[in-house]
């Protein structure tokens, strides 16, 4: 049932916990994990302005994915990494819907009501617009 799992990550603690869940499910169902890291527009500007050259930027982004990739490797799972550009919510939704996933695993930052209203919760957007089941991990 869950053959193709999308794991959205931002390199935070929450995404390490979501990775644990994705690994458990992938292990039980023999599924392939597609690891997705989205570089937002704002972030991408900042990254470029703050670092020496574009190789440095690329390296830093890859470093964000590193801990999760290690987790996946240690679990001995099949996975692919994707670095996408755009606003996190819509970008994950688009990627998920275009590639016919069976399950999306996403971490929740646990914002309060006001923060959610102003910032918008990525996990809520994803849960609302993705057509497959979404597992939100705290």
């Amino acid at each position: 049932m869950y053959k193709k799992i999308l794991l959205a990550t931002d390199g935070s603690k929450h995404s390490i916990r979501s990775a644990e869940h994705a690994i458990y499910l992938a292990d039980s169902f023999d599924s392939v994990i597609e690891l997705v890291y989205v570089v937002g527009g704002e972030k991408s500007k900042e990254d470029v302005l703050h670092s020496v050259d574009k190789y440095e930027v690329k390296r830093e982004r890859e470093e964000k994915l590193r801990p999760i990739q290690e987790q996946l490797e240690n679990a001995g799972l099949q996975y692919n990494s994707h670095l996408l550009h755009g606003e996190p919510g819509p970008t994950i939704v688009k990627f998920a819907n275009e590639n016919a996933f069976d399950l999306v695993v996403v971490g929740s930052r646990g914002l309060n009501n006001l923060q959610t209203m102003i910032l918008g919760s990525v996990s809520h957007k994803v849960a609302k617009r993705v057509s497959c089941p979404v597992l939100i991990v705290k």
């Binding site: 049932m1 458990y24 929740s108 809520h124 849960a127 057509s131 089941p133 597992l135 939100i136």
Partner: protein
């Protein structure tokens, strides 16, 4: 990892799909148990009683809504238990899941649009926000 699975159901098409997912997840953890939670909210409780003459019938219609879900769990040979709770759906499910230390909550989403959600409030969103454990939202 998922020993205690709380499956929130309202007898709709979405909760059928949620059940399929619950059964599937239950099958990957040995000794897991699905707790099928059906929440009777105040407005339903009133209309149920008004449209049924005696309280025995009321319980029957409620059970009928859960029966299909129960049947699916039975066929898949997973452990399950049915709990009928009273209250407002969102907070009641959250409260139940947190008090009973559920490992995962599985809930169907009705797929409201932005305006409907703003006015009515999405139960699945509330649950996803307030439950302490991971929440699987099924469309």
């Amino acid at each position: 990892m998922y020993n205690k699975i709380v499956l929130a159901t309202d007898g709709s098409e979405h909760s059928r799909r949620a059940t399929e997912n619950a059964v599937h997840i239950a099958s990957c953890t040995e000794g897991s148990k699905i707790e099928i939670v059906y929440v009777v909210d105040a407005t339903h409780a009133k209309s149920d009683v008004l449209s049924n003459w005696n309280s025995v019938d009321v319980n029957d219609t409620r059970k009928a809504r859960v029966r299909e879900v129960e049947e699916m769990a039975k066929q898949a040979r997973v452990n399950y238990e049915v709990k009928i709770l009273h209250g407002e759906p969102g907070p009641t499910i959250v409260d139940y899941a947190n008090r009973n230390k559920a490992d995962v909550v599985i809930i169907g989403s009705r797929g409201l649009n932005g305006l409907q959600e703003f006015v009515l409030g999405s139960v699945s969103h509330k649950v996803a926000k307030r439950a302490n454990c991971p929440v699987l939202i099924v469309k």
